[in-house]
Amino acid sequence: MRSISRKTFVLHCVWLTVTLASVAAFAQSAPAAHHDVVIKNATVMTVTHGNIKNGSIHIKDGKIAAVGESVTASADATVIDAGGKYLTPGIVDSHSHIALDDDVNEATSPVTPQMMMKDAFNYQDKAIYRALAGGVTTSLLLHGSANMIGGQAVVIKHKYRATRDEMLFPNAPRSIKFASGENPKRVYGSRDQLPSTRMGNFAVQREALVQAQDYMREWDNYNEKIRRNKDDKDVTPPKHDLKLEALADVLRGKLMVQIHIYRADEMLTEIAMAKEFGYKIRAFHHALEAYKVADQLAANNIAIATFSDWWGYKREAWDAIPWNAVMAMRKGVRVAIKSDSGDYDRRLNQEAAKTMRYGGATEEEALKMITLNAAWIVGVDDRVGSIDVGKDADLVIWNGYPLSSYGVPEKVLIDGEVYFDRSQPGLGTTHYKEGE
């Protein structure tokens, strides 16, 4: 791999380009796997209905067609014998910033809801592959936390080596990232700008939402006049403003609000703000003090995407405790463990397993934190996050018990196709060719 000569390297590059082009061409003509796949002889951890020993899964057109002790499929189906190993749904990372080439913060204004993370998405980033090799099949790529209102997220599937558009999670709901606390006040405070305090933070947020209300009123007013008299020549349409349009979509409930937040008091303020303006908060991210106000989170159906045991890296992470996830869960909060990192997204299974130790989550509860609950936060829990008929065949075969230090993925399937296979040489990606 390292010692290839310059000549063969050039040849390989050309060849690889041709190969990739043909793969891309094939992929465009065949967006989904047409053939049947059967995975048999697996310990299937369904997440929603227990484990099935010696279980099988029938995959048809990239979806789970059947799951049980035995399944029937056409004779020409590709059969993968899992050899008794564990099979889980693909991991969903509900908070990631990989594959954005560090274009994570448009920190030129504290309110930038019109930023689309999709526009920065670098589908060739190797971080996508490395997370895939750790069993991650879906990620929510979020704006950073420099701004009180950042940008709109993009949801990807980790189909490393597929085309850019194939990697976008089809028809995923839209999410917007809000932030709070130290980051915005540090970024703008260091420039002697607003906000430099938590008061400033929330004032900026409220001001933006008030502007959005005004904007909506202008349009409602215009639309009402046009509805009354569509030929009214005296009525001119208001200006289209991408920023306010995005915020209006928050108020209209069309954007799921994901909030970067640490302190419990700020969570309560954000809940009050959401009520004041009539939108819903989908999830608090990081949420390291959720255990202090878990009742209020549960009452407002706000999930958390949190770390297992990170702490102390800044003042607002000082009260972080590793029992946070389970304490919040026991109060009825939907809890996900997320990476926020191109490191931890490679072993989220271990991070989830820590909740079994800190607070005594059950195996299924722990697994749910990196699958179904994370999928709910992203808004795709009807499509991924468990092994149920009709869901996307995003699956991981592990060589050992996944909720431990030891289990690592052997094969990762997305939409029924193998995208990672540890037994393959080179990167272990299925599109590997000699000399890669």
Partner: protein
């Protein structure tokens, strides 16, 4: 699937069993001095002993007396002192306290708060006269958090920003004061040659010396040459002084050379009396650094080498131990996803002695997870365990005191509900110098406060 459940779990959940609780209360209420003294023998009876040096004892007993292990073996073969506090640890796994071979414990509290950090002196690359022992904050909130997971000893190193950032300390994670916790001051010195991370690189308008690998190497070489000269000056002085003493009338008393703390600090290393911890990542940096070390006959162990996979045979030929990783270091762009995960196994296969380090302060508690994860990529289990116990004790020159359940060693002992290398395993009690350490820290206090 899950950990096989213990046959007779003694401690379940968070709470201690009543006898242990009473025992702890007794110990803390009767303690006359805050120092780590063990009043009476403590016996851990009926546990699974991971002795490290002489295998696994399924039904074993350990006796701790006066801070030392006085017996460790099969329950049937160990006699229990009549005045001992006997704790039934049936179903538990007993192993020696874990040793983290590089941490920043005691040098930081909140990473982003500058005034809580004493990680590295940024004014110069060559700072061998910085002593972590002199900044070590014994009351750090982070230390109990780390020891709650069975880490009882650690190397405290300055952050790796400078070429020579200062000298390490070898600590014990409990004690009445820094004096008690600092087992060895200046036990080793990092030499960082991780060229990609040099701080003075950048545009020409900002560059200052040393901005390149050449500059770093030249500066380092000059430092050791200066130290050699300094040593020669002092040797010459001592000779003249002795000469003058013998010939009192004829020869005048020579003038002592001016002390230079920087150069003085380098001497034990130049003389091969202490260990240099040589950090490099890539093959070229590694070889440059090793050549430099050999040029001055430094005694060294290697550190990191996370991207030196192409030269592992060379590494093995050096016949020095390696502090490997962290294995979570991201692979280079062209490397396979497990290039760094599998490094410990690759080194072990070549006969290299390895140890692990958390390279952390807040996450020291996760040291064993890394060892466990390395086994998923080919490192034998026993070697992974050794890499955070006896191997580390050997490298840091304390194998006669730490790193295994052997008679005569310090009674730093962990009682856990299972496999020490699995993320799910819960540590139930830690003993340091034979004394049961309170299993509380700021985080358990917050947990308990908000669980009411």
């Amino acid at each position: 699937m899950m950990q096989p459940s213990a046959s007779k779990p003694v401690w379940s959940g968070h709470s201690c069993p009543l006898p242990l609780l009473l025992f702890l209360i007794l110990i803390f209420s009767t303690l006359s001095t805050p120092a780590l003294t063990q009043d009476k023998p403590v016996v851990l009876k009926g546990g699974k002993l991971l002795t490290i040096t002489h295998g696994v004892v399924e039904n074993g007993t350990v006796v701790m007396q006066a801070g030392k292990i006085t017996a460790a073996g099969a329950a049937s073969a160990v006699s229990i002192p009549s005045d001992a506090q006997v704790i039934d640890v049936t179903g538990m796994t007993i192993y020696p306290g874990l040793i983290d071979s590089e941490t920043n414990l005691g040098l930081t509290e909140i990473s982003s708060e500058a005034m809580t950090n004493d990680l590295v002196e940024r004014s110069d690359e060559i700072m061998p006269h910085m002593h972590t022992a002199e900044a070590f904050h014994a009351e750090s909130v982070l230390i109990p958090v780390a020891r709650m997971n069975g880490i009882t000893n650690a190397v405290v190193a300055p952050e790796g920003l400078d070429t020579l950032p200062g000298q390490d300390s070898f600590i014990q994670l409990a004690g009445a004061s820094a004096t008690e916790m600092l087992l060895i001051r200046d036990n080793a010195m990092p030499l960082n040659f991780t060229g990609d991370e040099r701080r003075n690189k950048g545009g020409f308008e900002k560059q200052k010396f040393p901005a390149t690998r050449m500059g770093l190497a030249a500066q380092l070489r000059q430092a050791f040459i200066d130290a050699q000269d300094y040593k020669a000056k002092w040797t010459d002085y001592e000779r003249k002084k002795a000469d003058a003493a013998q010939n009192k009338d004829k020869k005048p008393e020579p003038l002592a050379p001016k002390r230079d703390l920087k150069l003085e600090a380098l001497l034990p290393y130049l003389e091969g009396k202490k260990t240099i911890v040589l950090a490099a990542e890539s093959p070229s940096d590694l070889q440059t650094a090793v050549n430099l070390a050999n040029e001055f006959k430094l005694k060294f162990v290697l550190n990191h080498i996370a991207h030196s996979q192409p030269v592992l045979d060379y590494v093995a030929s050096l016949k020095v131990p390696v502090i490997v990783g962290p294995i979570y270091e991201a692979p280079k762009e062209d490397e396979r996803y497990d290039a760094v995960y599998s490094l410990p196994a690759q080194l072990y296969k070549r006969g290299v002695k390895i140890v692990f380090a958390s390279y952390s302060a807040h996450n020291v508690r996760n040291l064993p997870d890394q060892a466990g994860f390395a086994t998923a990529f080919g490192l034998p289990y026993d070697e992974a365990l050794k890499a955070i116990t006896i191997n580390a004790a050997e490298i840091w020159g304390v194998a006669d005191q730490l790193g295994s359940l052997d008679v005569g060693k310090t009674a730093n002992i962990v009682v856990a509900n299972g496999d020490p290398l699995d993320v799910k395993t819960d540590v139930r009690q830690v003993f340091i110098q034979g004394r049961a350490i309170p299993m509380t820290d700021r985080q358990t206090q917050l947990r308990d406060e908000y669980s009411k």
